[in-house]
């Protein structure tokens, strides 16, 4: 049997490449979203991050995913996008 032609087993997608936003010059007056993914002690870590951000003059908005095992619900992602200039997400244990 000829094996000169194969069928693509993959997604056949060309992922859209997006340029990341540049880093902000300073945080004063900016709203930073902190997303807790519901891992144990994630809140302890993010509390400390919030304290440091507020010391820089940023406003902090807190968010939480229902469970770390699933992607953030669409509503939550939209809420973060509406309210925040920047977002930090804690991904690890």
């Amino acid at each position: 049997m000829s094996e000169s032609v194969l069928l693509d087993p993959g997604s056949e997608r060309d992922p859209a490449e997006r340029e990341p936003h540049g880093l902000p010059v300073d945080l004063a007056g900016k709203t930073v979203g902190l997303l807790d993914i519901s891992k144990p002690r994630g809140d302890v870590f993010l509390d400390e991050i919030a304290r440091l951000l507020e010391a820089e003059g940023a406003a902090v908005a807190r968010f939480k995913k229902p469970t770390f095992t699933r992607p953030a619900p669409t509503g939550l992602r939209q809420e973060i996008a509406e309210q925040c200039d920047l977002v930090l997400e804690g991904l690890a244990d």
Binding site: M1, E3, S4, V5, L6, L7, S11, T69
Partner: protein, 477 residues
């Protein structure tokens, strides 16, 4: 004679009816415009006054879409106006308007199958001519490229060689299901890419499946994409787990799955390739690859493939029945599984001591102090199951007793207890805890007839609503 008509006949020398009607073809050739496509060589039929085409490549026969030889097709201009299969004298005469055609021949002889329908040939023809059923992008290899190496280079492999998914092989694979190759089963995480039956078939070819396994693979993919299974999180987790596939019901036996000796091990094609096909769909369609979104600290060897069949016994309900289906239905159950932990008890002859051994083994799943986090499967071997069967214990009684034995005092589970830092907060020390959530323990029979060994298969630490629940789907043809 019908004026202005022309005729095409498809024949095969190997067909006795085609040999029989050779004189009738000669008569027809003398009276009208006749073209014959012969499927097996240039030396038949011998006709004067007719164009005989050597169609051993079968392109002409394919274009005419014949199922039987001989087939007589009648045209007016370029328009087909009728056809008849085999030799039915009245039909040939009616179609040709030639009232004395085949006078010396019998009235009726059935034909033979067209070579275009030969199962070893049809996929090649469909691949060559294209039926429009295959939509996947075609990758053309350079003449010196090795197809298996190309699959490695393009990242299609799980680390082991894959069977190159040629169009012929994929068409053959699709013969295993009546479902439309274009049917979409859902979005495969992590990239949430819609997956068609065709893409499942391509990955099943690569995994080494036979066509009759395809319905089982499709059901496994459907189960993986069901929201409660939480395939996205299972893939992304740092934990060991991956999808384990358990097949219950008559189709498991029909396709030769192993539920007996070495059921959880290597050596059976169906077990090995069905589990692998599911993993390849996640990898190739969903984009879920180790080091990418798959962040497993260690993983486990079952992430190549982890699939077995249930050894059903009438003494116990089958897994299909336990999951809300009938015993006659074939089902696929997916579980977010770690590896196998053996449990040995060669002394127990009564249910109670055997339950206590099982409970002691189940207690340590994930960690002896971790409760209601992982689910577990208990694969009960026939010799262990016999202890329960002899005493008349149902599977439900055994499960219930295990839950009772796995009620644990919080004092044993708190941080620091037993000299281990891991554990529950101290304030929970006064309560009792179930080791597993209510539906978190599943029993299934499998294994060889000798050995008082069963297998505990622990699950992902995130079970139930916050993570994964076992999901069962019926296998559909």
């Amino acid at each position: 004679m019908s004026e202005g008509n022309r005729y095409v006949v498809v024949t095969k020398k190997d067909c006795p009816t085609c040999q029989l009607i050779e004189p009738a073809l000669e008569e027809l050739a003398k009276q009208s415009t006749l073209k014959v496509f012969n499927q097996d060589g240039p030396d038949f039929p011998v006709l004067t006054g007719a164009e005989v085409v050597d169609d051993h490549e079968l392109d002409g026969s394919w274009a005419l879409n014949v199922e039987i030889v001989p087939t007589l097709v009648c045209y007016q201009g370029d328009q087909e106006v009728g056809r008849t299969e085999g030799w039915e004298r009245a039909a040939w005469r009616q179609l040709t308007g030639f009232d004395s055609l085949g006078e010396a021949l019998p009235e009726f002889r059935p034909g033979c199958g067209s070579l275009t329908r030969d199962p070893s040939i049809a996929p090649r023809l469909e691949a060559r001519h294209g039926s429009g059923r295959l939509k996947a992008r075609r990758l053309t290899l350079a003449s010196l490229e090795d197809a298996i190496e190309v699959c490695y280079e393009r990242g299609f492999s799980d680390g082991l060689p894959v069977v190159p998914p040629t169009p012929e092989r994929v068409i053959t694979m699709l013969s295993g299901t009546q479902r439309d190759p274009g049917e979409i089963l859902g979005d495969v995480p992590p990239d949430l890419v819609p997956v068609s039956i065709e893409k499942v078939a391509i990955n099943a070819v690569m995994a080494g499946c036979r066509p009759e396994y395809l319905p089982v693979v499709i059901a496994a993919v459907e189960a993986a994409l069901d929201e409660p299974f939480c395939m996205h999180g299972l893939l992304a987790t740092t934990y060991f787990s991956g999808p384990m596939v358990v097949v219950s019901g008559p189709l498991a036996r029909r396709i030769g799955m192993n539920a007996g000796v070495n059921a959880l091990g290597q050596g059976n094609r169906a077990n090995a390739t069905i589990g692998r096909a599911l993993q390849l769909v996640i990898r190739n369609v969903g984009g879920g690859r180790p080091g990418g979104v798959d962040r497993a600290t260690l993983g486990n060897p079952g992430k190549y493939t982890f699939c077995f069949a249930e050894d059903e016994d009438l003494a116990w309900t089958s897994l299909s029945e336990d999951r809300g289906f009938a015993r006659e239905q074939t089902t696929v159950t997916l579980f977010a599984a770690d590896g196998v932990q053996g449990i040995v008890d060669q002394k127990a002859r009564e249910p109670e001591p055997l339950c206590r051994s099982f409970a002691a083994g189940l207690r340590v799943v994930s960690h002896p102090k971790m409760v209601q986090a992982p689910d577990a499967f208990l694969v009960v071997s026939p010799e262990h199951a016999r202890v329960f069967h002899d005493a008349g214990w149902s599977k439900q009684q055994v499960t219930e007793r295990l839950h009772e034995l796995l009620l644990i005092d919080g004092s044993e589970l708190v941080q620091g207890a037993g000299g281990m830092a891991e554990g529950l907060p101290a304030k929970l020390g006064g309560r009792r805890f179930r080791k597993f959530r209510k539906n978190g323990l599943t029993l299934v029979r499998a294994g060889g007839g000798a050995g008082m060994f069963s297998a505990i298969i622990g699950g992902w630490g995130a079970s139930g609503e916050i993570g994964s629940s076992p999901v069962t789907k019926e296998v559909r043809s």
